[in-house]
Structure formats: structure tokens, C-alpha cells
Amino acid sequence: MRRFSGVLPVLALLGGAAVGEPAPEAAKSYGPVQAEVRLTVRGTTDIARFEPVLEKFLARAEGARIEYEQWGSNDLYQATDADCRSGYASADLVISSSIDQQVKLANDGCAASYRSDETTGLAAVSNWRDEVFGITWEPAVIVYNRNMIGDALAPRSRFDLIDLLRPDDSAFRGRIATYDIEVSGLGYLFAFADSQQATTFGRLIEAFGRSGAVATCCSAAIIDGVASGDYLIAYNVLGSYALARADENPDIVVVAPHDYTLVLARAAMIPRHAATPGLAGEFIDFLLSEPGRSALRSANLIVDTSENVHAAMRLPENPEVSLRPIPLSVALLVGLDQHKRREFISRWRAAFPKE
């Protein structure tokens, strides 16, 4: 009998940093030590940012203890996939910004189904098979430092960005940063989604290549570079991180491009063999309920894009048209295909040669 049970072998090579056993980057426990109910949550979100959300939930679920582990997205995917095939789940809930990997896990039968009033109320793009749920609202944004660029010069769209980069003597040469898609799963996801959204993507890559744009790792490092003035503009940064930094540093300006703005909804999934799927479901319901959403909003994980709540945020003129959530669907599997990924990265690499 043939069985389709394999994983994409190439995925094991995703993110060269992962060597040996996948392991959490950090972990923290909340609630009483003697608690009878324990919920193990694994996520890609920093502990510090997620903590208020967890505490708010804990205040409602009395007597429960939550173990939160912060993971890198590729490690988290591999650990969850290995759990799935071993028939034992070490986590009760997995929340990852690599929504393509989450969809793949569900596609491979690694997710448990969960239905409640809250999940059925979700839009179709935020609920796949009642197994993967989009719980946040984080636009992919352009970030600049208002001390370095005047508001008049600042790009409001990708067209502006391309125009800024066009002159050979452009001041932006070598001072534009974006994710290194080979290292960052999120960067790859955004770039791949960009390639499907518009023909601008080809011109943008070409402009990045000509102007010597920098592809580097991690939201934090990129935004640090903008804050310090090393980079003038950061492209495709996760808006939630940028806004969190803007709260501390008023010079940081966050632009949701008005040609289109990709919106990521972090995906939550209950592993099939989870020990306490009921409590995990309650946590999902909490995240989707108004108190949970308010906690996520405070943590900038839900970015209010309907009105000018954030002083540092430049919203597109027509949010309904410009904001494009990345739907949870099987189409996300295409980006994970070995050949597709190889082809896409080689195209990217042509613009960002490794030094």
C-alpha cells in the first residue's frame, strides 16, 4: 500500500540555523505550580509580548497552568511534525507566524478539529477546515525614520519606493533593508505573497538588486537599523513589531502601502494528539473573543487598520481595497514546494547576491 505520509524533505533544510534537535528559544510558566490543568502553548511570538495575553486568559481560567515556549518558526514546524508522526503531542496549542507551515501541518493530518461559536464566526480566510485559525491582524509595512527622511520624500507605496531607488545617485543605495527570505520564514512568506499580488514585484526586486539593498535577518535587527539610521527604509517588516518599536521611538514611522498591504494573521492550531485540547480550544475562543482581541490589540498583535489609532501609522487611503489578508488555504502549500521554493529563492538571490 502506498501512503502519502511524507514531508517535503527540503523543509528540513529550511533555515540553516536549525541544527540537531529542534528546541525552544525560551520558555516561561504561568499560574500555580500545583495546577491540575496544564496547557502547553508553543509560539513564535516573543514571550514578553505574549505575556499579557496569557495572563489575561489565566485570570479567567482559574487553577490552570500555562507553559509558554517561544520557538523559531522552522524548529516549531519540525517539532510539531515529528510529534504528529510519533503520535504524541508535547504541545496543546501551536501558534505560528509561518502560516504556510501551519496549513501544511493541518493538510498532513496533524491538526485536531475545533468548532465553537467563535471559530464559526471567523471569516473564511481565517479558518481552514476548523483546524487552523487566524488570530491576529498584522500588516506587512514599510518603516522609515522621520529624522532621516522628510515626510514629503517618504514612500507611501511600492511605486514610490521603486521611484526612490531608480536614480543611480539615489541616497537610498545600500540603505534599504528587508528580510533575508532564506533565513526568515516570514520574509519568504511575504515575498512569495508579493510575487502573486502584482507585477510590481519583479521591478521591485530589480530595483533592490540595482540599489544594493540589504537582506538580513529578523524584524528586530532591521528595525534597530532604521532607528539607528543605518537603514533609511525597511520593506515588508511585520507591522506589529514596527508599531511596538514606534511606541518607544517617535521617530519611527510605519507605512501601510496603499497599492496593497499584505496582512498576516498568526495561525493557531491544536495538534492532533494534544493532551488538553479542551483547554486549548478555550484559549482559542478567548483569543477570538473581545477581551482576547483587546489584549492582542494592546500587544500590537492586532493592528487597528480601520482608523488612525496609532500616531506612527500611515494608513492607505482606501483600507478595504488595499488591505489583503493572506488567506489560510491549500494554495499556501505551493510556496513550500521544493522546486517552487528553489526557483523563487534563486530568483531572489540574483537580486541579493550573498557577499
Binding site: M1, R2, R3, F4, S5, G6, V7, L8, P9, A106, N107, D108, G109, A124, W128, R129, D130, Q196, S329, V330, A331, L333, V334, D337, Q338, H339, K340, E343
Partner: protein
């Protein structure tokens, strides 16, 4: 109140039988349609989603390229968007080289054997439908085929099949309810004429024997006709009875009173000779009374038989012979005076032998009494008419009386000394019962004939 015997004859209600029939038909039809809808829904869903699968696989196969002697698979995103039209179904895919090695996708151990385009297998514990699209290559660097295999779980198919089936069943149920309602209305309206007839009869007074006159459809009109024939028969019977009683009371009272008077006279008479004379008169009167009684009963009997006795083929010659045989032998020179004029061939007609003979006897008696010799009983059959009757050598009664000769007691004098005048009335009644008529003719000055003219049976017309 219903007689228990009548009640037991009532079979299952028409409504119940119709309802049972309709329910049976609807149930059988419903099951058949449900099965057909299920099969149709399943096939429709299978076909629709199979096309999506083939479409997706063909798109991937069409996007295969060669670079440096190696197959490059550039999966178009639209292929998977096509598959995501089944929004909840999981997808598994693989692209395999000529030797069965995986080029990209899920690590299927080996591509399936055989040439089937579609096959069913399981994927991560769920049933999945697979399609294989093979693309042949004849490149300088690669000669052979590449298989694109895509599988998808079957949730959307099942849902669509269920939806199609469900919609069909809802439609069938609605039609069924509509048909049942229409059938109930149809039954109600079909049975309503019966209720009208029932109301018409129930509303009648006990003396009302007029025909039922209710507007009824064709199917029930025969019932109403039968009912009306039945009512008419009852009416005729009652009429006969009434006539008999009226005649008896009217016609018998006088002769009986006369008899009594004669008897009283005799009782008071001392003279032997006069007593004998009176007795002679009493004898004659009582003979007349006996004849009158006979005729009254005979008339009633004939009319009664006309309604109750089925007609049969009768040879009028034998009727005539019987009549002559049975003629009252007490009449002076009766048998000697009667002649028979019969044809060689039988003269057949539909009739009641007894009534016809009775009519014939009455005619013979009339001729013997009132006519002159020779008295001839004749039978003729020609021109589609059969005739049986009597002719004599007298002049008969005046022509002015011919019209009313057939009615009872036509002679104004009422009961004559020797006859009650019922004879021709009986003949007339028999003629009418046989769909014929009584005819009176005077062929010559010395001949007078009275006969019944009846329809001749067709076999004998040839």
C-alpha cells in the same frame, strides 16, 4: 339506523383505498427518485471535482520545464487555487520522473501501476481521490514521461452530493405533498355527486317517487339511471296495486250487491219455481263476477310481469295454439268455432309466453262473445313485424271507440252483463310491455280483426 346486515356489506372506504393507493405510489416513487437523486448527486459531485483535479494536474504538467537536462516543476499557484474550490479538502501531490523517482511534492513511495487516470487511496487517514496526468517529453536531453499525481480528500464531494440529493428530496417531498393534496381534492370532488344524490333522496317526502334529478358526471349517470329505473318500477307497481284496488272496489261492489239482493230475494221467496229462476240469475251473475275478477287479476298480473319477467324468444304460432287450447271450454261451441291460420315458418319475437297467451285468449273470448263465426286466430310475420290476433266475421265495435279501446272499462256502460270490458285493456298492456302496439282493423264489411303488432326477431326476417 343502519341494519347490521347492511353495515357488514360496506367495504373499505373509497377515501381510504385512494389514500392508500396514492401513498403507495408516492412512497415507491419517492424511494426511486431518492435513489436516483443520490446516484445523480454522487456522480455530479464526482464529475465536477474530478474535473478540478484534472485541471490542476494539467496546469502543473503544463508548467513542467527543462533546464540543464533536469525537470523543473514550477507549480502555478492557480492550480492550487483551483483545488481550494473544495475549501475544506486536503491536498497531496507528487511529480514523478520516468523511473518513478520523486521530482517534487509528497514522497509517494511509488507511482501507482496501471493506466487509470483516477484512483482512490487514503491520505493521512482519510479517503482521497487521485488523478494522474502524464506528460510525454521528447527533448534532446530527456526522452520519456513525467507523471503528475494529485489527490484530494472527498469532503466537498460528499457535501455536494448530499446537497444535490437533499435539494432533490425536498423538491420530491413538496411535489408529493402537492400531489396528495390535489388527489384529496379530486377524490372529494369526485365523491360529491354521491353526496348530492344522497341529499336529494334523503330530502324527499315518503310519497315522492319522481326520478332523481341531480347534476352528476358521466361516470355516475348510469347509477342515477339505474336508480331512476328502480324508482319508476316501484312507482308502476304501486300504480298497478292502486289500480287493482280501485278497480276492485269500484267494479266488484255493484255485482256483489246485486248478488246479495238476489240471494235475499231468494231467501224470502216461497215459490219453488221462482226460487229456481233467481238461483239461475245468481249463477249467471256469479259467473260474470268470476270472469271480472279473473280479468282484474290478469290485468294486474300482466302489468306486473311486464316489469319483472325477462322476455325470451317465443314462437307466436305456439302461443296461438296454446291460447286456443286454453280457451274457456264452457263457451258454447267454443272449440269448434275457432280456426287457426298459422304460417309454415316460425314467427319469433321477444316476449313473455304467458302474457301473450293471456292477451290472445282475451281476444278469442271477445270474438266469441261479440263477433260472428268464423273466429280465426292468426299469426303473421313480415316486414319486420310479427302479428298475432283474432279476426271474426262480425262488424266489431264502432270506429269511434277504436281510439279508446285499449283503456280500462272503455265501454261506457261499465260492466256489461257478460263482460267487464277489461279484455282489450289487457291486450293493450301486453302490447306495450312488448314494445309493440294493439291494432284494430276492418279489412272488409264482414271482417273485423284485433291483433298485437310486435317487433319480429331479426333472425326470422331473412
Amino acid at each position: 339506523m343502519t341494519d347490521p346486515a347492511v353495515r357488514s356489506r360496506i367495504s373499505t372506504s373509497l377515501r381510504f383505498r385512494l389514500a392508500a393507493g396514492i401513498i403507495l405510489i408516492l412512497a415507491i416513487g419517492g424511494v426511486a427518485v431518492a435513489y436516483a437523486a443520490f446516484a445523480y448527486g454522487r456522480d455530479a459531485a464526482q464529475q465536477s471535482f474530478d474535473r478540478l483535479l484534472v485541471g490542476a494536474a494539467s496546469q502543473i504538467a503544463g508548467a513542467l520545464r527543462f533546464r540543464d537536462g533536469e525537470v523543473v516543476v514550477d507549480i502555478p499557484i492557480s492550480a492550487f487555487e483551483l483545488l481550494s474550490l473544495a475549501p475544506r479538502d486536503r491536498v497531496v501531490y507528487g511529480v514523478f520522473g520516468d523511473d518513478g523517482t520523486l521530482i517534487t511534492g509528497y514522497d509517494i513511495l511509488s507511482p501507482p501501476d496501471g493506466d487509470g487516470i483516477f484512483f482512490t487511496d487514503s491520505f493521512a487517514g482519510e479517503t482521497a481521490r487521485f488523478v494522474r496526468v502524464t506528460r510525454q517529453f521528447s527533448e534532446r536531453s530527456f526522452l520519456g514521461s513525467v507523471d503528475v499525481i494529485i489527490g484530494q480528500t472527498t469532503e466537498a464531494r460528499r457535501e455536494l452530493a448530499q446537497q444535490v440529493t437533499q435539494n432533490a428530496l425536498i423538491a420530491v417531498a413538496a411535489i408529493g405533498v402537492g400531489m396528495a393534496a390535489l388527489a384529496a381534492l379530486a377524490v372529494q370532488s369526485a365523491l360529491s355527486p354521491l353526496h348530492r344524490i344522497e341529499r336529494d333522496i334523503a330530502a324527499r317526502s315518503s310519497k315522492d317517487l319522481t326520478p332523481v334529478d341531480v347534476n352528476v358526471p358521466q361516470e355516475i349517470s348510469s347509477l342515477v339511471h339505474a336508480l331512476n329505473r328502480f324508482i319508476a318500477r316501484i312507482e308502476r307497481h304501486l300504480h298497478v296495486m292502486r289500480t287493482l284496488i280501485a278497480d276492485a272496489s269500484h267494479q266488484l261492489r255493484t255485482p256483489i250487491a246485486a248478488l246479495r239482493a238476489q240471494a235475499e230475494l231468494a231467501a224470502e221467496e216461497a215459490d219453488q219455481e221462482r226460487i229456481l229462476k233467481i238461483v239461475g240469475r245468481i249463477h249467471e251473475r256469479s259467473r260474470n263476477l268470476s270472469r271480472l275478477t279473473d280479468q282484474l287479476l290478469s290485468h294486474a298480473l300482466i302489468i306486473h310481469r311486464a316489469d319483472t319477467v325477462d322476455l325470451e324468444a317465443v314462437d307466436l304460432r305456439t302461443v296461438a295454439a296454446d291460447a286456443v287450447d286454453q280457451t274457456d271450454q264452457s263457451m258454447p261451441d267454443a272449440d269448434r268455432a275457432i280456426r287457426l291460420a298459422l304460417p309454415e315458418a316460425p314467427v319469433m319475437c321477444d316476449g313473455d309466453r304467458l302474457s301473450l297467451a293471456e292477451a290472445c285468449k282475451n281476444l278469442i273470448n271477445n270474438s266469441l262473445k261479440h263477433g260472428k263465426s268464423p273466429v280465426t286466430v292468426f299469426v303473421q310475420g313480415q316486414g319486420g313485424r310479427a302479428r298475432i290476433g283474432v279476426r271474426d266475421g262480425g262488424t266489431g265495435f264502432p270506429e269511434a271507440m277504436w281510439q279508446t279501446a285499449g283503456s280500462r272499462f272503455a265501454k261506457d256502460a261499465g260492466v256489461s252483463a257478460r263482460g267487464a270490458g277489461l279484455g282489450l285493456a289487457i291486450v293493450n298492456a301486453v302490447s306495450e310491455a312488448h314494445e309493440g302496439q294493439m291494432r284494430i282493423e276492418r279489412p272488409s264489411e264482414t271482417e273485423f280483426a284485433v291483433f298485437l303488432e310486435l317487433p319480429l326477431l331479426p333472425e326470422n326476417t331473412e
